[in-house]
């Protein structure tokens, strides 16, 4: 008696089509509230999208600026510059080393300034480039430990500040994601709750007539995802405006735009909208729709 009807792909497609129709019915019944919810979702997702995009732009900017930074390593007079350079080259995070021989440095200096005819007081110097500003401190400590090294100089404060700004930017994006995610869940779950309440009688009849649980629940979850999706699409407008400003700023500093940043943000917005929209619905369905 409990054997279910034979199912084939056509049957499944018809069921999916029916679920789609039920979803559209729910959206239609929600009326003008649809606009309010989608606008609210768009506003929330815009904030997230803009923050995320800014954070990505800032990271690229900081990394690019940071990459320009070099560590100047001054060697003891009897140290062999090539040997020390080889040692440093084997250290992690080291990207490139330029050896500035003391004779070349002295000649340069003499070209730029009028100097008395004295013995060359300059040491051999190495200009070391590090892959990321965050790793500069670590690299400096390692280099200082070499006995051939007399002194190390770099823009310590600037590197630290840039690292801090980068960290704050990332943390702020994550906090905004969590707060706005919570807000999205709250708004969607409340809206879907209203839809469920307005169709309570219909749900009761469906349940008693043996309509399957997922068939009853799915349209509400899809409706929530639909709000998230529409909100994300609308959020692309302010994101696009911000994008053009960021591009101008990065171009001004001669820094190339981060690869795929826009695509990553668009994809994140769509995923966030759909996942949080459907998630908010699921909370409501679980709480208010007993089948």
């Amino acid at each position: 008696m409990l054997s279910s009807l034979p199912k084939n792909i056509l049957t499944e497609l018809r069921i999916i089509f029916r679920v789609g129709l039920e979803t559209l019915k729910g959206i239609k019944q929600t009326g003008l509230m649809n606009l309010v919810i989608i606008s609210t979702m768009a506003a929330i997702l815009s904030i997230f999208g803009c923050m995320f995009r800014t954070s990505l732009g800032l990271s690229t900017f900081i990394n690019e600026i940071g990459n320009v930074l070099e560590i100047s390593v001054y060697l003891h007079p009897n140290a062999d510059a090539q040997t020390v350079a080889n040692k440093i080259n084997r250290m992690p995070h080291v990207q490139r080393i330029n050896i500035i021989k003391k004779e070349d440095a002295w000649a340069d200096l003499k070209r730029q300034m009028t100097l008395p005819d004295i013995n060359n007081p300059l040491p051999d110097t190495l200009h070391v480039k590090i892959d990321n500003p965050q790793n500069v401190d670590q690299a400096v400590k390692r280099i200082k430990n070499l006995k051939q090294v007399e002194d190390v100089q770099y823009a310590q404060d600037l590197a630290k500040k840039m690292k801090t700004v980068n960290d704050i930017s990332h943390a702020a994006t994550i906090i905004v994601l969590l707060v706005l995610g919570g807000l999205t869940l709250f708004i969607i779950s409340n809206t879907i709750q209203l839809v469920i309440q307005s169709r309570k009688q219909e749900i009761e009849i469906m349940r008693l007539m043996g309509v399957s649980n997922w068939y009853i629940k799915a349209p509400y979850i899809i409706q929530g995802a639909f709000y998230g999706f529409c909100g994300a699409i609308l959020a692309l407008i302010p994101l696009n405006i911000l994008q053009s400003y960021l591009n101008k700023m990065l171009t001004f500093f001669g820094i190339s735009n981060p690869a795929m940043a826009t695509n990553i943000v668009i994809l994140s917005l769509l995923i966030m909208g759909i996942v949080f929209g459907a998630g908010g619905s699921m909370i409501s369905v679980k709480k208010y729709l007993k089948v």
């Binding site: 409990l2 279910s4 056509l10 499944e12 018809r14 009849i205 469906m206 008693l208 309509v211």
Partner: protein
């Protein structure tokens, strides 16, 4: 078709059903009678798994309902027709859509749905009201739509909980005539009622409940 063994349902300290045993064979027409609070509705709800037994067994079509997993209950309900006192029709949908609703969710083709819906509405003599909304129908007509919806999926069992409770005597008789016709098509019918005239007229098997116990079970009986 239905086998109830030592069934007890308790709400707090109150017993709605007590150690009840009942066997209903396929194709039977059974009236379940008793005054309000006798336990008729509770027993009906047990059959379509809206209530669970405190103890004992309820077996419908070979399936022990107390052991059916929650997600499988809709499958069980689709294998039986249920008719309610208050019709439970979707007010904004037409007669046709009300009857077609459940079989649409099963993914049947439009052609098959159409054939089944028209067939069911022909049995209840409502072929001419396909496009009417429930609010445009009389109580008797609404109950006929409800019967059409219950039989559209070809269930082997139809449960009617006080189907004439909201209807006048003449309309009630018409509804019972329809249920009798449905029974003649081989569908097992269980009707709960406290309408003496109907029970005495049809002379079917009568099971009498009182304080949650079966006190009488008579073939071709009357309401005493």
């Amino acid at each position: 078709m239905i086998s109830i063994k030592n069934l007890t349902k308790q709400y707090g300290n109150t017993f709605a059903l007590q150690k009840l045993d009942l066997e209903i064979q396929s194709g039977e027409f059974v009236f379940l009678v008793g005054s309000s609070g006798a336990g008729k509705s509770t027993l009906m709800k047990m059959l379509y798994a809206e209530e669970t037994p405190t103890s004992g067994k309820v077996i419908v079509g070979g399936v022990d309902i107390s052991k059916v997993r929650r997600e499988k209950i809709p499958n069980l309900r689709r294998c039986m027709g249920i008719v309610f006192q208050d019709f439970k029709l979707l007010p904004k949908q037409t007669v046709y859509d009300n009857v077609a609703y459940v079989i649409r969710t099963l993914g049947m083709s439009s052609k098959e749905i159409d054939a089944r819906v028209r067939g069911a509405l022909r049995i209840v003599n409502l072929s001419h009201k396909l496009k009417a909304k429930p609010t445009e129908l009389s109580g008797g007509e609404q109950q006929r739509v409800s019967i059409a919806r219950a039989i559209v999926n070809g269930p082997p069992l139809l449960i009617a909980d006080e189907p004439t409770g909201n209807l006048d005597p003449q309309t009630s008789m018409e509804i019972m005539e329809i249920l009798d016709q449905v029974n003649q098509r081989g569908i097992t019918i269980l009707v709960s009622t406290h309408d003496h005239a109907i029970v005495n007229y049809f002379r079917k098997r009568v099971v009498t409940l009182e304080d949650g116990r079966i006190i009488r079970d008579v073939q071709a009986g009357t309401y005493t």
